[in-house]
C-alpha cells in the first residue's frame, strides 16, 4: 500500500431512485479508492449501473448514501454549484455521443472549459491542443461538419485543455467504427500518459478495459468481480495499490 493520497475515495456509496413502484436501489454499497495517475475501467453490461456510478464519481449526480472524496474534497457534502466548480477545476469528460456544442466550432468547443475555468489565453491553449490531436485544419468547422472520429478527438482535446487531475470517459469509442476507435483510444491513452491524469473509463468493451491498469466489473449495481489488483473487503471493494 502506498501512502499517496487517493484521487477518488468512495465509502459505502449507494444510489436509490423513486419509481412508480417505490424506491429502487441502483447501486449497492460501494467502496473503493483510486490513486493519482491510475487508469481504471468500470466494465459491465448495459443497465448494470456503471454510468450511474460514473455520474456520482464525477459529481454530476448526488449520492443517496455513503461518501465520495474527489482529490480529498467531499463531493457528497457539496451542493450543485460547488460540485460544478470542482468539476471545472479538476475534472475532464469524454462522452460516447461526444456532447460537443453544435453551435460552436471545434476550436471554440475546446476553448469552452478553459474559458469557464477562467484560464489565460484559452484560444492559444486550444490551438495548441488541437494541433496535438491533429485537427488544426478543422479548427473552424462545426461538429456536424466533422466525422465521428474527428468529433471525439475534439472532445478529447476539450477534456485535456484544463489539464484536469482526473478524466472520466463514458464509452468513448461506443459510437465509432473499429478503425476510428483504435485511433481515439491511442490518442486518449497517449495524452493521459503525457499529463499523468487519473482516468476512470466506463465501457462494456473488455479489450478497451484491458488497456487500463485496473478493471472493476459492475453487475446489477454491485461490484462483483475485480481485476487482480483489487481485493474484496467486507462485501465491497478496496482498491489495492498500483503495480
Amino acid at each position: 500500500m502506498s501512502n499517496t493520497p487517493n484521487m477518488i475515495e468512495t465509502k459505502s456509496v449507494t444510489k436509490k431512485v423513486n419509481t412508480s413502484e417505490g424506491s429502487l436501489q441502483i447501486l449497492h454499497p460501494i467502496s473503493f479508492e483510486v490513486k493519482p495517475g491510475e487508469t481504471i475501467a468500470i466494465i459491465g453490461a448495459s443497465g448494470s449501473g456503471k454510468s450511474t456510478l460514473l455520474g456520482l464519481l464525477a459529481g454530476l449526480d448526488e449520492v443517496s448514501g455513503g461518501e465520495i472524496f474527489l482529490d480529498g474534497e467531499p463531493l457528497h457534502r457539496m451542493d450543485e454549484e460547488a460540485r460544478a466548480r470542482l468539476r471545472g477545476e479538476k475534472v475532464g469528460f469524454i462522452f460516447q455521443s461526444f456532447m460537443l456544442v453544435q453551435s460552436l466550432t471545434a476550436l471554440e468547443n475546446i476553448m469552452l472549459p478553459a474559458e469557464i475555468a477562467g484560464l489565460d489565453d484559452p484560444k492559444g491553449r486550444a490551438n495548441k491542443i488541437l494541433k496535438q490531436v491533429g485537427l488544426e485544419h478543422r479548427a473552424h468547422h462545426f461538429p456536424n461538419q466533422l466525422s465521428g472520429g474527428e468529433q471525439q478527438r475534439v472532445a478529447i482535446a476539450r477534456a485535456f485543455i484544463t489539464q484536469p487531475k482526473i478524466l472520466f470517459a463514458d464509452e468513448p469509442t461506443g459510437n465509432l467504427d473499429s478503425a476510428n476507435s483504435e485511433k481515439v483510444e491511442d490518442l486518449l491513452f497517449a495524452m493521459n500518459e503525457d499529463l499523468q491524469t487519473t482516468l476512470v473509463l466506463v465501457t462494456h468493451d473488455d479489450e478497451l478495459a484491458k488497456r487500463c491498469q485496473r478493471q472493476l466489473r459492475m453487475t446489477a449495481g454491485e461490484l462483483v468481480e475485480v481485476s487482480p489488483q483489487l481485493k474484496v473487503v467486507e462485501g465491497s471493494m478496496q482498491a489495492g495499490s498500483k503495480q
Binding site: S51, L54, G55, A58, L60, D61, E80, E81, A84, R85, L86, R87, G88, E89, V91, F93, F95, S97, F98, M99, L100, V101, Q102, S103, L104, T105, E108, L112, P113, E115, I116, A117, G118, F142, N144, R158, D170
Partner: protein, 847 residues
Amino acid sequence: MQASNSMATSLAWRLFKHEARRGELTIILLAIVLSVTSVLALSLFSERLQQALTDRSAEFIAADSQLRSSSPVDQQWIAEAQERGLSTAFQLSARSMAFAGDNLSLSDLRAVDSQYPLKGQIKLSDIPFGQASVTDQAPQSGEAWIDSRLFQLLGVDIGDNIDVGDATLQISKILNEIPDGGFSVFDTEPMILMSSDDIAATNIAGPGSRVTYKYYFAGDSGDINDYYDWLRPQLDREIHRWQSIEDDDSPIGRSVARAEEYFLLASLLAIILAAVSIAVAAQRFSQRHFDPVAVMKTLGASKQLVRKIYLIQICFITALGIVLGVIIGYTLQELVVSLLADSVPIALDTWYWRPLGIAVFTGITCALLFSLYPLLQLFSVPPLRVLRKDIDATLSSRALQFLFSGSAVFLLMLFYSGDLLISSILFASGIVLVALLLGMTFLLIMLGRKLGSGGMGSWTLAWARIRRRAMGNSVQLISFAITIMLLLVVLVMRNDMIKQWRDQLPEGTPNYFIANITESQKDGLSTQFDDFNIEYDKFFPVVRGRFVSINDEKIRTDITKEGEEVADEGRQGLGREANLTWSTELQKGNEITDGEWLGDWQPDPSNSEQVIPLSIVNDLAENLGIKMGDELTFNVGSEVITATVTSMRSVDWQTLQPNFFFVLHPKAMENFSPTYITSFHLDESRKSEISMLMAPFASITLFDVDARIDQLREIIGQVSMAVEFILVLVLIAGGLVLIAQVQASMDERLQELAILRTLGLKGRRIRFSVINEFIIIGVVAGLMAALANEFSLYMLQSRVFQMPPSLHMEYWAIAPIAGAIVVGILGAFGCWRLLSLNTSALLRKMV
C-alpha cells in the same frame, strides 16, 4: 466577476453569431421580428391615419375643441388658452330676421372673427348654387356673405344691402359652406356670415336673446387637455358645453371611431399572434439548448454563468429582432402608405415616436416574457443529462407555463389597449377555446386509440401519432386554433363592418331633402315626382313643439349639458324645440326595443280622457330618465299635447334619412297643420332637371346633400381600405405563426421519422402519415376556431363595436377546410424538407 461577465458576453456572442449564421435562430428571430413589424406597421399606419382622420373630424367643428355658451365667457379664459399656446377663434350664432327692401327671411346668423375657422375652410360660390371654392378670408366689418337661397328669398344681388337687426351690411360674397355649418333637414334657415365686429351694431345679442357663443381652440392635444382640465371647474353645466373631436357623433365620427376600435383590435390580435409565435419559438430554442447547457454545467459552469450566457444571448436576439422588425415594419408601412397615398388621407411626412416606442417595448416584453419560462426550464437542465439523454429540465409545469403566459398576454393586451373590455373579451375567448380544445384533444386521443392500432397505413400511423403525442398535440392544436380564431375574428369583423358601412349608403341613397312642404303642396309634389319618374320617400309630417314636462314635472330647457350629450349637432333642437311627427307605420331602420308600436292603437271617440301613445328613442329616454308609461307634455303653439310613452325605439342614426326622437299617434296631432319633409334620389346626370322639378313650388326648401354623401362615401372608402391593409398584415402575421408552429413541431417528430425511415418505411407513406396527422389537427383546430370565433364576435360586436351580432355559419365550413388545407400543406412542406435528407443525415440531425 468582471472576467466572468466578459466571458459570458463573449460566449453568448459567439453562440448568437454562429446560430444566426447557421439559421438556427430563424424561428425565434422571425417571431420577434414579426411582433415588432406588425405592431410598428399597424400602430404607425393607424396613428398616421388617425391623425389624418382626426384632422378631418376637426374640420366638422372648425377646431380641435369648442366651447359653447349661452352667454359670453370671461375673456380671461380665452387669454389663458392663448397663453398656453392654443389658437383661438370666436363665433356668435343666432336665428335672426334678415330684411332686404320689402322682403324678409329668417336666417341662421353667424358672426365670426378673423381667426375663424381654426380647422376646415369656408367655401364660397361665384354664382348662387354654383361650384364651391375655398377662401382663406373671413368677412370684414360691414360685409355679409350670404347663402344662395337668400338671394332668391330676398331678391338681392352682390353689392346690395341687407338689414340684420339694427345693422346694415353689404352683400359681398355668396356663401356655400362653413366647416361647422352642421347638417339637418330641420335647420332650414339660410346662413349669413358676418364679422363679429358688427355684432354690437346689430343689437341682436341683448338680454333675453337666444344667442350661442362658440369659442374655438386648436393646438397640441396635450395642451388642449391641460387647458380643459384648468377650465372644467369653472364651467357651469347649465350654460357651457365643451365639445371635442371625440364627441363627434355624426355618421362620419362613428365610422371613424369604429375603425379606430378595429385598428386597436387588429393590433391586439397581432400582439397575441406574435406572443404565440414567440412562445412556440422560445420553447423550441430552449429545448435545442438542453444539451449545451448540460455540457457547460458538466464542464464547471455555474448556474449564474449559464443564466448570463443565455440571457445575454436572448438580448442579442431581441435586439436584432427589434432592429430588423423596425426596418421591415417601417418599410412595409411606408410602402403601403405610398401605394394608398392618393386615396387615403395619411399624414405622409410625419414621424410618430409613440408607435416606435410601443413596437420596441412590445418586442422586448414579448421576447423576455415569453422566453422566461422556457429559459427557466433551460437553466434547470441537470448536468447528468450528458450521460442520460432522457433527463429533461427539472422545471416542468404546464399549469405554471399557461398561467405565466396567460397573465403575460393579458397584461400586454391591457397595457397596449388600455381597454379592459376588449382585452377581457379576447382573453376570455381564449380561455374558452383552450378549455374546449383540451376536451377535444381528449376525445381525439380516445379516437386515436381506436383508429391508430393494427397497421402501418398512413392514416393509422397518423392516428397513432396523435394518440402518442397527446400533450404535444394538444399544445399544438391550441396554438393552431388560437391563430385561426384570431384570423377569423379580424376577417369577419372586417367583412361585417365594411358591409354595414356600405349598407349605410346604398345605391340610390337620397341626395335631396325637401322641407317646408305644406299640406296643399303635397299632392302636387307627388304628381310632379311621378311625372319626372323620380322615386321619393314618404312625406313625414313635422310640427315643432316645446318639450316641457315629464309626468307633470317640468324639465330643464337645456337638456344638453356638459358631459351628457344626447344628440349630435344634426338632430339637436331638443330643449329648444322638438320636431314632432306622427305615424302608425314604423319608420325604416327603427326597431322597437320596449313596449308595443303604436300602430295598432285605436282611439276611443267616447273617451276624451284616453291617453295618446308616443314612441321615444331609447337613448334619449335613458338620458332623460324617461320610462315606459311616463306622460310627456309638449307645447305646440298655444296648444298642449300630452302623450304616454308606450314604446321605445332604437334608431340607426348612421343613415341619412330623417329620424325623430318622438313619434306620436296621428290622433294626437289631428288639430295641427304640419309641414312635411321628404327625400329623393336624383342621378348626377339628371341634376339639370331640378330647377324644372321644383319650379312650381317656390316656397319649398330644397337641400342638396350630394356633397355630404360623397364626403361620407369617400371617408368610408378610405377607412375600408385601411382596414383591408390591416387585415392583410394580420393574415401575413398569422401565416408566419403557423409556419413557425409547424416548423417547431417537426423537430419533435424528427426522432420518430428517423426511426420509421431506418426501419425501411417508404418516404411516401411517412409523408402521408404526417400530412394526414396535420390534416386531422387542422380540421379540429378550424372547427374549434369557428366556435370560439362566434363567441368572440358576439362579445365584440355587441359590447364593443355596437353592431348587431350575427352568426357566421359559412365559417363553420370554411375554417376546418382552410385549416386542413393550410396546416396540411405546411406539414407536407416541413415533412418534405426532413425526408429529403438521407437516413444518416436524419439520424445525425437528432444527435
